[in-house]
Structure formats: C-alpha cells, structure tokens
C-alpha cells in the first residue's frame, strides 16, 4: 500500500536523504510560496463576493496549499540514497537450523516455511548479489543449498552465528545480512558486545521471523531451585517455576522424580496465560549419592510442545554424618527425647554435654570423652568441628566472653546453625538480653525475668510454617496443617519479643489465656543460620501419642537437618550452571578456609573431574583476583552426561608436606544436549525487531518476506552507489493536488457560490 502511494518502499524514505534538484535555491521557493499566498489573499479580500466570515480564509488556504505543492514540484524534489552495486556485493543469508525450527505450525515446519520463503527471494537476490548461505545452530556453518538444512541442531546461538558470518566476510564487501529464525536463542540472548561488533561494520541485519508469537496451549517449566547439596534422608524443598498458555484455571500435577521413581506429587492450579507461576514442592532426598531430580508438570492434554514440561536438577546427597553439639544446663525430658528422636538419623550425629550437677557434666555421643573434659569448647578448632550447635537451658554467664564470641563466629564465620531452646535459666531468664548472644537470636528478648512458664500451650503453625521443610509432617499441605492442629499440647513455653526483621516465624505458641508468642523462629545469620524453639516441652508429642506415631522424631530430625544441611565444609565448591543445557563451558569455583574457617590464600586447589565415557581430568583452580580464599577455573565438558569434580586443597608447591587433610568437597554438574531447543519456542519477535532496528535493518514476517529482495539493496555497507529517485511523479502528489482542488469546489458548491 505504501509503495502504491509513494512509489518507493518506506526504506528509501527512512534511509535516503531528501534533496531539491531544481537550479534555483530553496529560499526562492519559500519566498515564492509566501508571495503567492499574499497574492491570493489580496485577491480574495478584494473580490470575496458572497463569501463571508471564515469562508474566504478556507478557500485561501486550499488555494495556497495547491499553489505551494505545484511550486514544490517545480523545484524537482528527490531522494538520494546509497544502494548496493549489482554483482559487487555479498549478502549473507543465515538460516536457523535448530530443533525449534522443526516445530510444525499451520501444516508446515518453521524451517519448511523459511526455505519456501527463501526460495522465493533467492533468485532475485542472486541476480543482484553474491549470496552466501549459512546454517546457524550450535555452531555456524556455510552451506551451498537449502536442502542441507535439517532442523536438528540442539541449540541456537544467534549472536555467535552472526559474528562468525561477519568474520567470514571480513575482507569482502558484505552488503547485508538476512537472518531467518524464530528468535528462540538459548545461549543467553544477544549481548551488547555482539550488537556493538555488528554495528561497527555498519552491516544492516534484516530479520525474518517464523513461528507463532504466542503459544496456544503449552506448559513450560522454566526453572527449579533446589539446594546443591543436602544430607541423606533430609527433606528437600524445591521452588518450581513455570508458565502456561491456554490452560488458565485448570488443574495439573507437579511431579518430582528420581531415576523414574516418583518422590512427590501435588496438584497445582494453572494461572493465566504467560503468568510466571512458582510452586513449592517437598520430598525426601533418600540415601546418599549423586541425585538427578526431575521436576515436571503433567496431566494436561492437547499441548503443542510436551518436551518443555520438565527440568532436571542435580543434588549431591552427602554420605557424611555431620555432628551437632548440644549443651544442656540441667537434666530435662526434652534432652532425652531429642536424643532419642535423632538416634536413628543416618544423616547426623548428636554429641551432648549435660550439666548433671553443679560441677559435673555427662557427655554422650563423643568419640573421645576427654575432648570435653573442660566442658564447652573454648577454641575455634574444637567448636568449628561441629556443623550445628544446640544451646539448651544454659545461662549466658555459663559461657566465658571468649566462648560467647566463639558461638557468634560459629554462625557468622564458620557458617554453622545454632538452635536455642527455651528453659527456666535461658533467654530472658538466663541473662541473654544483655549478652552478645542476644544478637544471634531471631527474636527480640523481653527485658524481664519469669518468662518461662510450665503451663500447657498449643503449637500453632504459621502460614510460612506450612511450607517449611521443618514442619512438614504430611506430603499434602492441607493435611499437614490439619495434623498440626491435632497435636497434643506442649508442656511449657517461654515468652519472647517480636521476630527480628528478616526472621521467619514458623509457629506461635497460644497460651491458655489465648495469648500468642513466637515459638519456632528461624533466620540467616552471617554465613550460617540461627533458630529459636522457645519451649522444652515438645517431648509431650512423643509421650502423649501412640508408639507408632513418628511426629516427634520427624519434627526433630527435620529441624536438626535444616540446622546443618547448608553448613559448609572447609572447602565449598559451586558452579553458576550445574546443568549445562547444550553448553560445554563450566566454571568451577571453590572457597577455601582453614580449620578456624579463615580464608586460605596461599594453597594449591585441584579439581579431579570424572565424566562420562571415561573422561577424567585434573584441573587447577586459580585464585580469583578480588575475592580472598576463592579459586576458579573454566573447563570444557566435552560430552553430555554427569560429571563429578572432587576438589582438594594442597600446600603450595615447595611448602612442607602436610599430613592432615586440608579439606575437600565434591561438585556435580551435568551437560544435557538437545534440551535447550524445547524451551522458549514461541517466536521472539521483540528480539528480532530490536536486532534489525539497532543495525539499520528491518524486521519481516514470513508473509512479507518477498519484499526483501527489493529493499535489501538500500544499504550503506559494501560497495555502493548513490541513486537519485524523483518524487514529483509519486501518485500521492497528484492525489493531493486533486483533493485540494476538489475540496475547494465542494465547499463553493455547498455555500452556493460556484
């Protein structure tokens, strides 16, 4: 339509330069228009006849516009534009050959539609340019014919593909690049550097988009966050994020699997189209080992793409049995029943110090009783050997100032978990408000005594508590909440103040007088975490329920596993992408500390990587420039499959041999090929429009791709010539003149002055 009225495509106007080819300067044109306008005005004023009011002005305006138009044409207006010289320039055509292009829409795959469209423009293009064809997938490859395209590449890396195509013609006159794709890039998008590199060469990228811009019926799981490591039998919580199209309000199932075995299932109600939705799932980590959990949304019919309904996440279920130190100030039933509750726990070990008399302690669970001859540890080396700490009914003054600092550093620097229990000689009744230990608590303490009450009270689960791994007794959230409501009362409770900012109240206590006070509260503190369980009466859950009931055991096992499952060792490894979806580069990162958990800078950090098909490599990690005690390395995972990197710390070269273990950690990652293309399959028109706009190209739909051959010539890149295109014979000019004259005639007729 545009070309019908304006003779040339819009590109000519947007890229070209307007010029007046007439011999007389432009100011004479302006002066002439002013003179004609004045003359017409004088004439109408003198001979207005029957025209009154604003009517002469309207007639004057129409006559002036017509005269101005005719004068404008006399000055010979034209567009000067750079065009590619025929047969002297190259046009690179990049075709997305990834698997997402094999998706069938309207009876043909995206690739078939692209080839069909390309065949339509290839001949006209070849008449004017040398055309080079490239296929873009995981890598970019030059091809001779379109029948070399298969639509089977396992990833799309558009940015790299374009850079490679540009590099291939760096010494040749490249006039333009045509990119045929659905825009579903899965290498993290086209970054600013890539755009900048393309712009430096001033090559216009013309993009042609294929595929539906909006999926009709589909569910796509985009992410699942789960801890990288946990303990055997620990309860794991995962947040699964997904979007759905065309299923708003419908029910589906969120399923968690380990090696095909269903670990958890829960019903979810799907939100509106494209609305990101995150659901919380919990399951048991099971026995120790390298686990590959799959999170999927199932139970829907008629999906366009069922291959994007699941994601996989790796978790290292550790076989170690971390130790928790429990110091208790007096014999209490809670002490006995906590010990019993975790006795069978395969994932942790409880070492207890109990003050039986004023001057005697009773130690249980320790390998070496002599280790605690002096009572509570007074050195970082001794205390930091534990992953968790429970402080029972112990007065603050029982700990020396140095021990109090050590306890704070246990959470802050060592990254351990500390659990405070209620009691008659602890918290507000034990001098905590005025001790450094108060800072560790997730609640503010009341500044008065007599806060501990041996009265029955009810455990009331909060909204956040319902989703917590600590309080989950039943798989289904509603059944879990019901079960908590039926729990026996606890034997006692301790009043505390409000939760500190950032702390999470998982449960309140409701007293006989219907008063409410935080009971179970957690928070992160430094590298670790702290929690408060302001009672010593949960043992009633064991004694007042049938022998078969395992509520008490489950609660304490889950609470203590939470306390230590994120406690790092002396070496803490990580990688930003534990699952490499059609990628091969992996970054290994290790944070190294000594026995007192101070960062270690002058050591040698090695990773022994073992992968599929016998892959084995030793990789040295180098100190990160700005982070003390951090070592990194980049490594290429050559083949798809699971990899395990055992990171060990050794003395620096030349240093004396150290017999003791300086720490080790295991990192797992997985390379998955052929996965990325199943995700984000809708046409990313926004990306393609942006790319074309920023490089001086144009975005085309599959339907208007035929115009490409004509419009591609207008480019500043390559070998160009300047063309001048007359504007006087544009149909719009004649139509405008005709319209101005007709309007005057129609107005005069209406006013009866013809």
């Amino acid at each position: 339509m545009f070309e019908f009225f304006f003779k040339y495509p819009a590109t000519v106007f947007s890229k070209g330069q307007f010029v007046l080819l007439g011999a007389w300067p432009a100011w004479i044109l302006a002066a002439s228009i002013v003179a004609i306008a004045a003359g017409l005005g004088w004439r109408l004023w003198r001979r207005s006849g029957f025209l009154t009011g604003a009517r002469p002005a309207a007639i004057w305006l129409l006559q002036t516009l017509l005269a101005a138009l005719l004068l404008f044409l006399l000055w010979h207006p034209a567009i000067s534009i750079a065009t590619l010289r025929p047969q002297q320039n190259i046009v690179s055509v990049l075709i997305d050959d990834s698997r997402s292009m094999s998706l069938k829409e309207d009876g043909a795959t995206r690739l078939e539609q692209a080839i069909k469209g390309l065949n339509g423009v290839l001949e006209p293009l070849r008449k004017r340019f040398q055309v080079r064809l490239y296929r873009i997938g995981k890598e970019t490859q030059r091809i001779e014919k379109t029948d070399q395209l298969t639509g089977s590449a396992t990833a799309t890396q558009l940015g790299e593909g374009m850079i490679q195509a540009l590099a291939d013609t760096s010494t040749l006159p490249l006039g333009a690049v045509v990119l045929l794709t659905d825009g579903a890039d899965n290498s993290g998008g086209i970054d600013r550097d890539t755009i900048s590199q393309i712009r430096q060469r001033q090559i216009p990228i013309h993009t042609v988009g294929f595929g539906k811009e909006k999926v009709e019926r589909d569910v796509e799981v985009s992410d699942a966050t789960v801890p990288a490591r946990t303990l055997a039998d620990a309860r794991l919580a995962a947040d699964v994020t997904f979007r759905s199209f065309g299923y708003a309000g419908q029910k589906a199932k969120l399923v968690v699997r380990d090696a095909g075995k269903v670990l958890a299932t829960q019903e979810v109600t799907l939100k509106g189209d494209g609305v990101p939705q995150t659901e919380h799932a919990q399951f048991n980590a099971g026995i120790a080992g390298a686990k590959s959990y799959q999170f999927s949304i199932e139970g829907l019919t008629g999906e366009e793409n069922a291959a994007n309904n699941a994601v996989t996440r790796l978790v290292n279920v550790e076989s170690s049995k971390p130790r928790i130190l429990y110091i208790e100030g007096e014999p209490r039933w809670e002490f006995k029943f906590i010990r019993r509750a975790v006795e069978d726990d395969r994932s942790l070990r409880l070492v207890t110090i109990l003050r039986t008399t004023q001057n005697k302690i009773y130690v249980q669970g320790a390998d070496n009783q002599k280790e605690f001859e002096a009572g509570f540890p007074s050195t970082a080396e001794q205390l930091f050997g534990f992953s968790g700490l429970i402080i029972g009914d112990v007065q603050a003054s029982y700990f020396t100032p140095a021990q109090q600092d050590l306890i704070r550093e246990f959470a802050n620097r060592r990254g351990g978990g500390i659990l405070f229990l209620g009691g008659r000689e602890t918290l507000s009744d034990g001098g905590y408000p005025r001790s450094p230990l108060a800072e560790l608590l997730p609640v503010r303490l009341l500044d008065r005594k007599d806060t501990f009450h041996r009265d029955n009270a009810t455990f009331d689960l909060s909204v956040l508590g319902r989703d917590s791994v600590i309080c989950r007794l039943e798989e289904k959230a509603d059944r879990n909440a019901e079960r908590w409501k039926k729990m026996p009362v606890i034997a006692d409770y301790q009043e505390v103040g409000e939760a500190k900012p950032g702390a999470v109240v998982l449960a309140d206590v409701i007293t006989a007088g219907k008063r409410r006070s935080p009971l179970l509260v957690t928070q992160n503190y430094g590298r670790g975490r702290t929690a408060l369980f302001a009672t010593s009466g949960s043992w009633r859950w064991q004694m007042l329920q049938p022998v078969e009931d395992k509520t008490h055991e489950m609660f304490w096992q889950q609470l203590l596993r939470w306390l230590i499952s994120d406690t790092p060792g002396r070496v803490l490894t990580s990688t930003p992408k534990p699952v490499l979806a059609d990628e091969s580069r992996v970054r290994l990162r290790a944070e190294v500390r000594d026995k007192t958990f101070k960062t270690l800078s002058n050591v040698r950090v090695m990773a022994h990587v073992v992968g599929p098909e016998g892959i084995a490599a030793d990789v040295e990690l180098n100190p990160a420039p700005l982070e003390e005690g951090v070592y990194t390395a980049d490594w290429t995972a050559e083949k798809p499959g699971s990899y395990t990197a055992e990171v060990t710390v050794q003395p620096p070269d030349g240093a004396a041999k150290v017999v003791e273990d300086m720490g080790r950690d295991v990192l797992m990652f997985r390379r998955e090929d052929g996965v990325a293309e199943n995700f984000r399959t809708a046409q990313n028109r926004e990306l393609l429009e942006k790319l074309a706009d920023q490089t001086g190209g144009r975005y085309y739909t599959a339907k208007d791709m035929s115009k490409l051959a004509d419009q591609i010539s207008y480019s500043e890149a390559g070998i160009t010539t300047r063309e001048t295109k007359d504007l006087w014979d544009m149909p719009i000019v004649f139509l405008l003149a005709l319209m101005l004259r007709s309007m005057e005639w129609l107005l005069r007729r209406r006013w009866g002055v013809v």
Partner: protein, 252 residues
C-alpha cells in the same frame, strides 16, 4: 500358716524398733505446688491390702520420696518438686510423668489393661523403677504381671559397666540395701532373697525401660535417712542408685 505367722511376728516387732512410723499423711511442703521438670511419681497399682491398710503401693509414702527428693535437689541440677505425684495406670495422666517408681511390686496384680498401658508407656519412652520386693515368691508375683507387659523381652542382670551405674555416680561396688525389718541389720535380706539383684528390661535399642531393684529396699533407706539408727552406707547407696536411675531415664 508359716508366712502368716512370720508376718504377724514381724508386725509385732515393730514397736520394738527405734523408728517412728510416720508413713501416714504428711503436711505438704510449702513449695509443694511448684511446677517443676521432675517429680517423684509413685505408681498406684492394684494389690491386696497391706495389713488392712491401703494397698502395697503406699508403703514408705510419702516420707521416703520427700526425703529422697531433698537429696535430688541438693545433689543434682534437676528441677525437682518437693511433693510427690501419685500416678495410676487407669489414667492417661501417667504419660506426663516419664519416670515412675513402684514399691513392693511383688504384690501387684496388674490387669490386662494395666499391662497394656504400662507397655505403651514404657515403649513411648517412660521409665519404671521397682523396689522393695524379696524372695522367690514375690519375684514370681512380679513376673506374673511383668511377663504380660513384655512377653517378648527378657529380664536380665544389669552389667556393672552399664551407663545406669555411671551416669553420675560410679556404682561398681554395690551392697544389699536392707529394709527396716532387718533392724539391727545383722542380716540384710528378707525371705529367701539373700542375693541382691539389679535387673532390667531393655528396649530394642539397648536402653533400660524397667530397672528392677530386687532383694533390696531403697525405699526404706530413703525413708530412714534421717535416723541415726539406719546405717549411712545403705542410705548413701540408695540415694546414689535413685539419682543415677533418674538421670539415666532423663538421658537415655
């Protein structure tokens, strides 16, 4: 006939002992209503009547426990109530008292329901200390009920290395603690119970659920701890045994 005669003779001797029989109702201590972590919970059980008085479960009560808990308060950090608690297998209240004491179980006659509840109580984590029963006949009566509580678990002698003898006091060298009937203590046994036994029933994880003090009378040793006529060495051992049993029950 012989047994009746012996009993009557024993009963007749009571007036000649230098002990005041003040086992009857006692005035509650001032802090009797204090809410504490632990209280001496005496098990009320069905039995014949003791010389026309209350059942056998009442023997030595409340003086024995009131004197004993003073020692528990003084010697340990256990938050202890000065007044005892009487608990029964007829009520679920027993589950709120994870340590119970049964005296003279050589006379108890537990019903099937009692046995079931006692079993439940012990398996959930409760602890039973039995004391003051002697000789073959009373053992058989004791076992008649106990074998209904745990038909599948044996009664075994506690090894001296067991934690229960070391949790606070080391009780490797133990003697027979005599009852008051043995005054002036030329002999320390009653009936044919010449050899004292510290027996137990363990749970599947090797923890003592029932601690059986057989052929000994710790209750009398507690009760007469304030008497210059009752030998201190027996009282000392009885206190240590009782305290060890309590702390064991609160740690295992």
């Amino acid at each position: 006939m012989v047994a009746t005669f012996c009993c009557l003779a024993m009963y007749a001797q009571r007036g000649y002992m230098p002990f005041n029989d003040d086992e009857g109702p006692a005035i509650a201590p001032k802090d009797a209503s204090e809410k504490t972590e632990w209280a001496f919970a005496r098990l009320m059980y069905p039995s014949g009547r003791f010389f026309g008085q209350a059942g056998y479960w009442t023997i030595d009560a409340p003086k024995a426990e009131r004197q004993f808990v003073q020692g528990v308060r003084r010697l340990t950090r256990i938050h202890t109530r000065s007044k005892e608690e009487f608990v029964s297998l007829e009520s679920d209240e027993i589950f709120k008292w994870p340590w119970i004491y049964a005296v003279e179980p050589g006379h108890w006659l537990l019903s099937d329901e009692d046995c079931k509840k006692l079993r439940d109580y012990l398996l959930r984590g409760g602890f039973l200390m039995t004391d003051d029963f002697h000789g073959t006949d009373e053992w058989e009566v004791f076992m008649a009920s106990m074998s209904k509580v745990f038909p599948d678990k044996p009664v075994v002698e506690i090894d001296s290395s067991d934690a229960i003898f070391h949790v606070l006091y080391d009780l490797d060298d133990r003697v027979q603690v005599p009852g008051i009937v043995n005054y002036p203590f030329h002999q320390t046994y009653e009936k044919d119970g010449r050899v004292p036994h510290w027996r137990a029933i363990y749970d599947d994880r090797g923890r003592i659920m029932v601690a059986i003090c057989f052929n000994q009378d710790n209750g009398d040793a507690w009760e007469w701890a304030d008497s210059p006529h009752y030998p201190e060495k027996y009282t000392s051992q009885a206190y240590r045994t009782g305290i060890n049993y309590i702390i064991y029950s609160m740690t295992h």
